[in-house]
Symmetry: D2
Subunit: 166 residues, 4 copies
């Protein structure tokens, strides 16, 4: 495989828990597949659950997958991670997953996912939510999470937002 010096990648993050239902996994896989088919690189936390399903989808569609791992060994990456980033910094790596992405698609709702949504909102990185957390304060819902009803819509929204933003 050869890379041209002209290649310029787009990076889309997929964030979600490490233990998920088969239905959620199917949605994550579809999100990953569509990201790859659109030519973008998938960024995630590199572990199981949503992360593995998304990597499988992207990888089987010929895409490049980055797993930013919390632990000390590349062996902890799921088998569909092409580029394991071994941070050794534990769940503080959630910041790096978010900042490495130009937009993130949040699927389902572990607490780790919530840290990543909040870091993305703090950093001004667009968040697309697919069946994920709602957050509110004083009865006012936070509206800066872009809601999607399907994997298709989530990926479309991510690319539309990026296109308008840059």
């Amino acid at each position: 495989m050869e890379f041209s010096t002209k290649d310029k990648f787009t990076f889309i993050g997929v964030i979600g828990g490490s233990e998920v239902s088969p239905d959620i996994a199917r949605q994550a896989e579809e999100v990953g597949r569509k990201i790859a088919l659109r030519g973008a690189v998938l960024v995630c936390g590199g572990l199981t659950g949503v992360m593995e399903a998304a990597c499988r989808g992207a990888s089987e569609a010929g895409g490049l997958t980055i797993g930013i791992l919390p632990g000390d060994s590349r062996r902890t990456a799921n088998p569909y991670v092409k580029i394991p980033i071994v941070t050794g910094i534990g769940y503080a790596r959630n910041v790096a997953v978010v900042k490495t992405s130009q937009a993130v698609i949040a699927i389902d709702g572990s607490y780790g996912t919530l840290t990543e949504i909040a870091y993305a909102l703090q950093s001004g990185i667009p968040v697309i939510g697919l069946g994920t957390w709602s957050i509110s304060i004083d009865g006012q819902e936070e509206t800066s999470i872009h809601r999607a009803a399907s994997p298709q819509e989530a990926v479309e929204k991510a690319f539309t937002i990026l296109k308008n933003q840059y």
Copy 2:
């Protein structure tokens, strides 16, 4: 000042944004004061806003205050931080603020505070909320945040939970 080898500290975190209204600052100061009067050490992110107000309250009541700073210099700490921890790791330090605390009191609602609430829930560290974020998924509210209506109640709840837990 001298420490006995028998001294054993309790660590209570106060998390909240760096820019807040005077009313929120008053509440944070009261929380800090009460933590110190109960003999616990106050842990926070060491900067302005809720963090500074809480440190001022604790410090003026003779308490010990720890500020876990994101940046590279102890000079970034607010003037009421007795023990500046200079991490140099940016907002990844939010993990350390939470893990260093045996319980956290979340006041008001910046996005950074939300990362800390989520890290605390992930780590099983009790969260007491004072006018802070509500989070829900699929219409179900996350109930593991203990709600308090006043600084007094927030601090009481923190100590009651700790007493029952250990």
Copy 3:
């Protein structure tokens, strides 16, 4: 560009300072070029100096380059980084540069490079030294750094060690 699910990458780190002489830069560029020609992915800290020269060499030879950045923006990467990892954790990211690499080639000698050599030795990751630090204690030189006299030899040693190790 398309990736097969069978692709398996080898990751070689190049560590060195952000300000270097033209001669050192030439050596770093040659190291990068040879890493790419051997089909491995180049890992580095993503900034200027040795990092930029090595990325330029690898990129111009059609290779893939990863820059693990200390700051908060992908814009801080040198122009030859294909995959910017935006950590936001400052120089604590040196750990991740090392752990993401299966072997590291240390060129010249900034203090940051020394942190990376030491992290690599601590983690059991092979270090090849090209005009870099010597370290000793009680008059005994640390011999686990593999010395190379040329870019060619440095890259050869890295691949030979990896081949024998795995």
Copy 4:
């Protein structure tokens, strides 16, 4: 125990390996004791070996001790740590140990200690070496490590440098 708002602490780091000979441990304990007797706060990595010995010395002399821990639990701190900072970021915490200190005393020589020496030199934080690493490049020894021949001399040098610096 009560703190005056006027109290201002000096922070001295002690860095060294987690497994050491009885002789090294005795030296570390003496360093810790003298730091406490001079009224400064001892900062360290919070674990065993040099860190535990230094904390024991400081603690028994009535001093305050901070242990900046790599792991996820305060239970990993040695018993003489009064203030455990639970970072959860692994050995990336070495940066925080150094930056939290106004000067560091390096004892003996693990690889972790070498990362800390290098981070300190990079950050302009004075390093006093007691039987620790020597580093050189191109046959030139790095002379910015201040050498001490005894615990007494190491602590004196640390305070003298700080006094002249601020």
